[in-house]
Symmetry: C2
Subunit: 220 residues, 2 copies
């Protein structure tokens, strides 16, 4: 199977993408230790890759705390109560641009033409870098930034969940055998348990309800 | 003056861009320790910023050796004899995409709408991520990736040298008072001195000749 780089965060969406990708690609999971408040998701990423029979994730260390500007990487409280208006404090400046840039570097080095990412623009926190137009613009960039653009091959950025509801994502993952109890979505975990109140927890819990699937999340 | 992020490598081009930028912006120089063979350029970046009266550069550490794929970051020889056909072994996969992505993250955090980069597509090594179409695609991406895209403001990526010859760049920098003896361009330095034979040295030396300016480079 042809190689692909799969961005894996340890969360529900990227676990589903990895399960999908394992059907079509030789997967190279890639995850990031970026000084995030919820670094426990790195352990979840390891567990998810193991459960799905993928290689262990390659971990890139990048210090986004040196840049700051987000409740996930600076001393700013995580908002509670579910998504509101506008872009929330948990938005991390240029995070998905950075993650995809590293994925692009790795893909080019591996000779892979495919990158998969679990962004979603339906049940999401309103981050600008989760929208379809962002993904399309990155794909265009990727083909100008690399040898692909000069040598006439092409890079593809796949975002297979981008137009699905959270319930549809969960249903798809259940069908592919994803064990969601291993995944971690909470932005503000308490002793390794989900807070149940941040945007990410609220969106996730509603997704399980709407999918009619018991929520395996361990809440504080 | 409004703030701008200026990518500074310690080389001739970015020193010229910083000198230009100091006339119009409150400059935030940004440089990268990426495991490069020619890490001595980091000292040059410090010296250039000091000489031009700018803030000391913010240094982001990123381990591109974990990705490899280039003569600058892996155990692959640096080609000698000047630019040839095709993309050379010194090309670093997605390097400028990564550098601009970090610059974008910093710009958004600082509230800056302007990023300056010293890429050049005339007297250059043939890297795909130095071409005008790459810069235009990144600017488009930047405006979709960030709050700017949602809030209706806009990010600009300035590449003021992109269509200049090396001689024109040097003439411009001399006019702005750049001390090119502080800059470092060589990909494969020997005891801190320029090798005189890699693409970067060859392009630089010819630039000084064409500009009719004594070459201040210290060669091995």
């Amino acid at each position: 199977m042809k190689p692909a780089v799969v961005l894996v965060s340890g969360g529900l969406d990227s676990a589903t993408v990895l399960a999908l990708a394992m059907q079509s690609f030789g997967c190279h999971p890639l995850t990031f230790d970026y000084g995030q408040r919820h670094a426990i998701e790195l352990q979840a990423a390891q567990a998810v890759c193991k459960q799905l029979g993928a290689r262990p994730p390659r971990v890139i260390r990048l210090d986004l705390r040196a840049i700051g500007g987000s409740a996930l990487t600076a001393d700013v409280p995580v908002p509670k109560g579910g998504p509101g208006e506008g872009i929330p404090a948990t938005y991390v400046p240029a995070r998905n641009t950075l993650f995809l840039s590293y994925a692009l570097a790795l893909a080019e080095t591996l000779g892979a033409a495919d990158i998969l990412i679990g962004v979603n623009a339906v049940d999401y926190s309103g981050y600008p870098d989760c929208r379809p137009e962002f993904i399309a613009a990155f794909e265009r960039l990727a083909n100008l930034a690399t040898k692909a653009g000069v040598e006439g091959t092409s890079m593809m950025i796949h975002a297979p969940l981008i137009r699905l509801t959270k319930a549809e994502i969960i249903a798809k993952g259940m069908g592919l055998g994803v064990d969601y109890s291993l995944t971690h979505s909470c932005y503000d975990p308490v002793g390794g348990l989900a807070c149940g109140q941040c945007d990410s927890c609220v969106i996730r819990r509603k997704g399980f309800e709407a999918a009619g699937v018991p929520d395996p999340t361990r809440y504080a």
